[in-house]
Assembly symmetry: C2
Homo-oligomer: 557 residues x 2
């Protein structure tokens, strides 16, 4: 098969994506249910076996310039992974980057449709391994299985396809050739012009621990499809999902006749600090980063030879003003706070509630009753340990536990965090969310990100102050998500205007099966690029447009 | 009139531009001929009178936070200008930037069509003052009148319209609202979503001396139409064209009911160094710069809170391998080297010619004969002083003269530069191009930009070496333009490939009325963003996409 064959084979899927990014209606190319009715009776077991076959082995992926191997993963589930990967060090970067660049000319010459065909085929192959990937995501990130399958598999594939669709549309804004004919005295002046899409150079993708695929794939595929080579530097604690990804990329590139080193894995020993020297190499022209604000800002300020796309941290907020569905409000927020133990970059941290309470369909609720209502919903949702662990997953690293243990000091505990023993993985570290009531004046506490299962119920003077604190905290600390509950159109209007001004997406009165911490590919933007939490979004034109340049030639005809 | 009225009024012009940026065929919305048959019998005289009315006066434009006035222009024609402008200093930036931001919310609320209508109306009003602008450009930049009318007026308007068209298309990639309907057990999940285009903040436009309008307008209008406020910091030697621009922007904004401080003029005293503190202000989110490489790089590396679009300097090259029209080759290059005394960022600096000479329609020509042919064409083109000055214009500043006077030392003079006394402006400094033959090994000379009427005929071992030197010099020093003359398809292919790899647009065998230093709006990209001479291009998707963000809200329906 060639890239253009694959382009034809995946044309319908691409067309669906292209239509969806224009309408921003519902679209999904990869079924999100891991049910055997969708994926077949043996898919789950086969995927699990494929995952388990990696354990204790050396992953068969070659990295130019690598030196020995590393084995750095420590599963939040306590499962010994012990997979070895080629180790990249600063000393190997010359060789790695030279190898990465080598295939770029042929990759450019392949043309737009070939590159889109190859990348769509990669997604298709990744989809065939989605259960294996789900296991890899689960046991590195600590996500529960269904979430790992969805966020780490099906939804990540949708996000990757979305990035490819945007890039395809962007590259096609320019004709491959044009005739320019200028009226002139006598004959018109005629010129033939050619326009070629050319990648920028080497793209670096820096993965994170919590969402190794979902957060890495949009940048990886946006860069690859636009003609760049991609070096993937995974988080040392979540290598396997990206090793599989790189493996599949290299397999498909090779089949299509391209240099497999167009996509490489650069695994490191923790403490090697490989990202900094890699990010500042002159060959590196694009960087996609997901992780902490400090290093994200360092990249933005220091890797100035590259276009830098960052998703960092924020202080996500929900303003609670009033509701006509108090129970549904509590249940909806409970799910958000419980999912993956609040370890999503989109989990709500701050719940702004008036000290005087709110109006609801159940009558007035005091400040304490609002907190108690949410706490009660969390309690019910997580009452059964065996079911709770399938929502909570495991705590990704010990720093989360440290923050969680310190957080009760900040105010009055509304709901204590509870340790749960995982029925299947007794070594897993599982915790339920902690809710702490805190005064509005303690902005030095809730104005900073407290990553993990910690949320603050912030006691404000009223909704006006809630909105003002929302503005202040998001302006200073950024936010990936925001929500409002209100029955008043005036309040909703004010909150919408505030959200526009501080640059964060707003979810209004979520009381059903949509949650403030979730974004749907093709329809919801993830992040905005308009506040300090992220300088880019999945996916818009700006996310793809600067990943390539158009080089023209012209001549008389 | 409102913005939407103007949107309707200028719809045809916009539609023409939108079609052209997709086809990249010929389009122009603003006639380039200053002929009275096009613009009317009195237009030229009226425009000159309007320009002259400014001389010795205080320009009636208000700048918040300004303190006193400055008068900094020194015409290359020796004409005393003595126009006073409000002086902006670092102490006034708080007030200036607060005032700039004040109108942004209303400007965003106006919506896409209103902003496009307002900016198109600004172009229309600038077009009505095109002769006044042409005079202002002529007497500040030193361009001759016809060039100032075209490059500084009609073509600049086309480039501005092109930027508006790209921005309009980009903003319209996202629907204003959408209904998202996800299939689910029982009823589908339905959500209403709204998407709002929001500007990034304050945009800073840093103008240059040589093309105050052509190089400033694309960024100015791209930023304004996408919802940003714009602070225009002109070059101290070329303020008037941008003062008129800002004046017209403020006039139209006011008529449409918007805050005129959405566009402000920040004129400075030379030596104030206003650009640095301004560029690093947190309110500034977009910067467009045209000028020297050193400051451009400083901006790229230090104004990391902003998206920075730079056009800097390069070493533009033409490779001469062979030709079937030697006279036309010489005449075409002669025009390029003579126009505006080579003071264009697109003027060819390096002519790579094999030491063994080339094949032509007139038989073999030795290295010296190629140089002599071009020199002879320049001599003829500029033989008549009165006609010569209408091509050459004036030398923009004394630094150009210093470089010109030093350049003969670098090699063997093929054509001496000649001083011409301008018949109408005896104080004008006018010089013809200098041609210096130089050896290929002197890359430390021709590998750097020597801005002004200095070009090098570089003696190479053959076309292979010419192409290799072209690669090396453009990779290291960048280029805005490149050309090749060859009758061999193989050589043309090799040159095209080299141009793609080093990231510069290639003009092939130009022998007629198209010149390597000229780019046509809507069809030719100006700069590529793919080599060190510029990190952006006029205009592509990447030039507009990051000037705004899309902020969404969502709710169940």
């Amino acid at each position: 098969m060639t890239g253009t064959d694959w382009f034809s084979a995946h044309r319908d899927r691409l067309d669906g994506a292209l239509a969806a990014i224009r309408s921003r209606g519902y679209y999904s190319a990869f079924p999100e249910s891991p049910s055997p009715r969708v994926y077949g009776e043996t898919a789950a077991a086969d995927g699990k076996a494929a995952f388990e076959a990696h354990l204790g082995t050396t992953y068969p992926v070659e990295t130019p310039g690598s030196d020995g191997t590393v084995s750095t993963e420590q599963s939040p589930y306590g499962l010994p992974l012990q997979v070895q990967y080629p180790r990249t060090t600063e000393a190997g970067l010359d060789e790695l980057l030279a190898a990465a660049r080598k295939g770029m000319i042929d990759w450019r010459k392949g043309g737009i449709e070939t590159r889109v065909g190859v990348t769509c085929e990669i997604l298709d192959r990744l989809h065939k391994r989605v259960f294996e990937l789900a296991n890899a995501v689960q046991f590195t990130s600590g996500q529960a299985f269904v979430m790992a399958f969805q966020a780490g598999g099906a939804h990540a594939l949708d996000r990757a396809l979305e990035a490819i669709a945007y890039a395809y549309e962007e590259m096609n804004r320019y004709p491959a050739e044009a005739v320019w004919e200028k009226p002139a005295k006598g004959d018109p002046i005629r010129m033939q012009k050619n326009f070629t899409v050319v990648g920028r150079g080497v793209a670096l993708v820096i993965g994170c621990n919590t969402f190794p695929t979902w957060n890495s794939w949009p940048g990886l595929f946006a860069s690859l499809v636009t003609g760049n080579a991609v070096v993937v530097k995974p988080h040392p604690l979540a290598v396997l999902p990206l090793a599989i990804t790189v493996d599949v990329c290299r397999e498909v590139l090779t089949e299509a006749g391209f240099d497999p080193n167009l996509v490489t894995l650069a695994a490191e020993q923790p403490g090697d600090g490989l990202a900094k020297p890699l990010a500042q190499r002159p060959e590196v022209k694009l960087i996609d980063f997901t992780g902490g604000s400090e290093f994200g800002q360092w990249l933005e300020q220091n890797a100035t030879q590259a276009e830098v796309f960052t998703e960092k941290a924020g202080v996500n907020a929900v303003i609670i003003d009033s509701t006509d569905s108090f129970k549904a409000l509590c249940n909806n927020l409970a799910f958000t706070l419980a999912l993956y133990s609040g370890q999503m970059c989109t989990t709500t941290q701050n719940l702004f509630v008036p000290a005087g309470g709110i109006q609801t369909d159940e009558g007035p609720k005091s400040f304490d009753e609002v907190g108690a209502g949410i706490a009660n919903s969390i309690g019910k949702l997580l009452a059964d340990d065996a079911r709770a662990v399938e929502l909570l997953g495991g705590i990704v690293n010990p720093a989360v536990i440290s923050r969680l243990e310190k957080a009760p000091e900040y105010g009055d505990v509304v709901l204590e965090s509870r340790a749960i023993t995982h029925p299947a993985f007794p070594a897993a570290v599982v915790r339920t969310p902690l809710l702490v009531a805190i005064d509005a004046k303690a902005e030095e506490v809730y104005g900073r990100e407290c990553f993990g299962p910690v949320s603050f119920v912030v006691r404000t003077g009223g909704t006006d102050e809630s909105i003002e604190l929302f503005r202040q905290t998001v302006t200073a600390g950024g936010a990936m998500t925001a929500g409002i509950y209100s029955t008043s159109e005036d309040v909703l209007d004010t909150a919408r205007e505030a959200a526009l001004e501080v640059g964060v997406a707003l979810s209004e009165n979520l009381t059903g099966q949509v949650f403030v911490n979730q974004s749907a590919a093709f329809s919801d933007f993830h992040g905005t690029g308009a506040n300090p939490a992220a300088n880019a979004t999945y996916t818009d034109g700006a996310y793809v447009a600067s990943r390539f340049r158009v080089i023209q030639s012209r001549r008389h005809v």
